[in-house]
Symmetry: C2
Amino acid sequence: MTAEADDHSESMVSRTLREEILTGRLAAGSRLTEAGLSSRFGVGRGLVREAFQKLSSQGLVISRPRRGAVVAPEAPREIRNLIIPIRRTVEVYALRLVFDELDAADFAAWGEILDRMRDACARLDYHAIAEADLAFHRRLLERAGQPDLIIIWETLVGRIRSHFRKTQKLSADAMEIHEEHRALVESFRGRDLAAAVRLLKEKIT
Amino acid sequence: MTAEADDHSESMVSRTLREEILTGRLAAGSRLTEAGLSSRFGVGRGLVREAFQKLSSQGLVISRPRRGAVVAPEAPREIRNLIIPIRRTVEVYALRLVFDELDAADFAAWGEILDRMRDACARLDYHAIAEADLAFHRRLLERAGQPDLIIIWETLVGRIRSHFRKTQKLSADAMEIHEEHRALVESFRGRDLAAAVRLLKEKIT
DNA sequence: GTCGATTATATTGTAGACAATCCGGGGACG
DNA sequence: CGTCCCCGGATTGTCTACAATATAATCGAC
């Protein structure tokens, strides 16, 4: 859908696969064969192998020698309980870094993401909701302009992709997810840092 | 069990390069050419490229398309100040996980690492000291047996490799580094969790 | 002598070929 | 009837070859 021509610094293969894993489109345990992905993406096996290395270093894929690659299982609950406060710390740090510099371009980008999220909520498309949620937070991290921050954040979110499944319980209240994110952006726009931090933390579970 | 001989899951190339970067043997900004490393390690360029992907995902290497790869600079001080407490949290978490299960094999492994560290301190070989220090902490994390924990830890240490350079200031007191680690292992052996946590935190700066 | 354009070299991007290894099925044997 | 062994297909591991691009070196104009 998206993510094609722009950023050659990261191959389309690894980016697409990561998104599919994080959003749950690719279930944990799914087998990933080099030839299959190679023909699916229309690239050589070398590029697929490079993507596997990257994803396995991020813990999204488990690659055992001569046995192929599978989508990694989620982290156990105890680990997630360790990670969630860390992720809150990192995102709040990023938020404070950029809070005073947010401009119209930022709000436009978030607005676009919110639109996609609203549509996804309306359709009850939880993969798409997760995708928009990820994009929402990623935008904040990338705005901070600190590569080190992004790398840590990516490692962290790779471990708690499951939390999108919890939201499936809500079903009827799916639109609430969109509403909460909209309120968060409003707190950005209103320059209310305290409220923004509080809302942001609430969103990371 | 082990982590050495078998481990094709991580190529020698990426492991060696990571260690050289973390210990400072490879300075930030150093240019990494595929052909050069290919002939140095006696493998094809494909494997070198796979290593680059892994290292760049860990933030140790910056790889710009068509422009080659260089060793990434260290994180700025502010980011390090964010990361250090996180690393403390993660390592203390791992310590609590394994503390009651530590056995003779663990102490033997740490003893060996301590020996190497003592020799390195005696020679004032700071790269080797850093290497032993890394091995020391890695052993703790690997002992916890949680892949997710290791992945996060690796990302974190990749960002604060600089702290080994600060220790260079001590020069004459280099042996103190070894002594502190020895004391830490003693607190493990004495089953003194509170002291162990305190000493471990002190060591992460 | 300096600056700019052009050629030459070095390096990366990608694909494909071949060998090594794993996995599942089928048959022989007890 | 079950177990073991062997084989064929599928998959991974690795390298080399070729094309595309960046970097440098060279040469000419002013």
